[in-house]
């Protein structure tokens, strides 16, 4: 069976030490001010009126129906069979059509490569049988990565043992493969996905240019197919009329 890679984040074990971010930035040599992963702090007053902090390690959620892949004109954004969403640097133009499409703000234009960067679950490392850099370095063992299709994997066991949640809403439910354990606490609105948007240019192609083009070209083909059929019918009628008049003579 093909692997199905997932990331689990136990928010109760995260201490916001930023080791995952440092490991990721070192692994991928990301430019200043840019990171492929992050830890979001959400502060709020709990039901007893006491301040509380929840920590959410985040990155690309490697969604089953990834809108970034659908928005990419060149196919540079693509999804591997094992569920990992990747960006092919040699094809990516850096047009950023995919950037607003991501509801988790996981994509950014890399100022060094001028292509789109994002978390790849450290695909070169996992292809060598290693763990992603963030997982390997996580001090509190808050991050767990593995193959959910392997019943003997740690992630399969943990997914069965605990109540995990995903960052989904009624509006945005695109099959993220990143799970969060919050010990029963509700996930705050701050980390929920935003409605995926698209650049006006992308929407123009999708909603105006392509439909009008399809209707126009289809319509023209139908019109001239009709004209051709009519011409054929008229010609057959002419021939049979001529043959009829020949027979009469």
């Amino acid at each position: 069976m093909v692997a199905k890679y997932v990331m689990l984040a136990d928010t109760t074990r995260c201490i916001d030490c930023k080791a995952c971010e440092v490991a990721c930035r070192a692994e991928w040599d990301t430019p200043l001010g840019h990171s492929r992963d992050w830890v979001k702090q959400v502060e709020y007053l709990n039901s007893k009126g006491m301040p509380e902090v929840q920590l959410f390690p985040g990155r690309c959620q490697h969604c089953d129906d990834a809108p970034c892949v659908e928005a990419c004109p060149s196919g540079a954004s693509w999804k591997r069979e094992d569920g990992i969403v990747l960006v092919d640097d040699s094809t990516c133009s850096g047009c950023e059509l995919c950037v607003p499409a991501c509801p988790y703000d996981a994509r950014w234009l890399n100022p060094v490569t001028n292509t789109i960067s994002k978390c790849t679950f450290c695909q070169p490392r996992i292809d060598q049988g290693l763990q992603p850099a963030c997982v390997a370095t996580c001090v509190g063992r808050a991050l767990i990565f593995g193959d959910a299709n392997d019943p003997n994997s740690e992630v399969s066991r943990l997914l069965g043992e605990k109540e995990w949640q995903r960052l989904i809403t009624d509006e945005v439910n695109i099959g993220p493969n990143h799970y969060y354990f919050t010990a029963g606490k509700a996930i705050p609105q701050e980390v929920m996905p935003k409605l995926h948007e698209r650049h006006l240019a992308g929407k123009t192609i999708e909603n105006i240019v392509n439909p009008l083009g399809a209707i126009g070209i289809g319509g023209m083909m139908a019109v001239f197919l009709g004209a051709g059929i009519k011409k054929l019918v008229d010609r057959r009628k002419d021939v049979s009329e001529k043959e009829g008049s020949h027979e009469q003579h």
Partner: protein, 241 residues
Amino acid sequence: MNSTKPTIKVRSKDVIFIHWFNAFFWLTLVLTGFGIISGDFVRLAPAFWPTFMQNLFGGNDSLALMHALGGMLWAGVIAVYAVLNFKRVVLPFLKNVLVLTPKAALADLSSMTITLAHLFGLLKGKKVPPQGRYNGAQRLLGTMIIACSVAIAVTGLYLFLAPIMFEFSASALFGLAFRWALVIHVAAVLLVLLGLVAHIYFAVVEEPESLETMKSGNAEVAFIKHHNPLWYEELQREGKV
């Protein structure tokens, strides 16, 4: 072509070559171009086509490179030809084919509508007004193809060169221009394809004589007299018929 019917040379070999060169490159560039655009939100061709083309060319980067090189060859050859033959071929062609005023556009639209209606046996009482070398539909299509071809060449060059020449992260304008260049590129191609349906139908079904002219360069005098009476008069004045 029937050799007993009088004909006249109306197209030189270089014009015929450029026409078929243009047609060949349009076909290959459309096939490769629809293979590049992959994302479901922006793709017009069925999903199998980008997969097939990208596999055929060993990846989308190779396919995009071939498309760009083909596009630059197409635009470059036509541009050089146009410059070298501006007075002899391009200027007379533009004078005949460009529809520049609303009045001319309305007249051409009217004659095109009557021609189309005649195909379905409609508006039988209305005659197509006498036409010059190019009829109303050809003039409208020609004007559209010229405008769209320029737009396709300019936007295509930007789509290929901008990611190589400019740092998109340095200014949001580079990416903005790229995204709108893509919109214009696709829209212009679709507009031309729309017109080409009519162009190919008329050349193959309604007026195969025109197709023959685009192969041999010769046109039957009787055909010109019947379809393009204003042009026939012009040829008469010039003593060519």
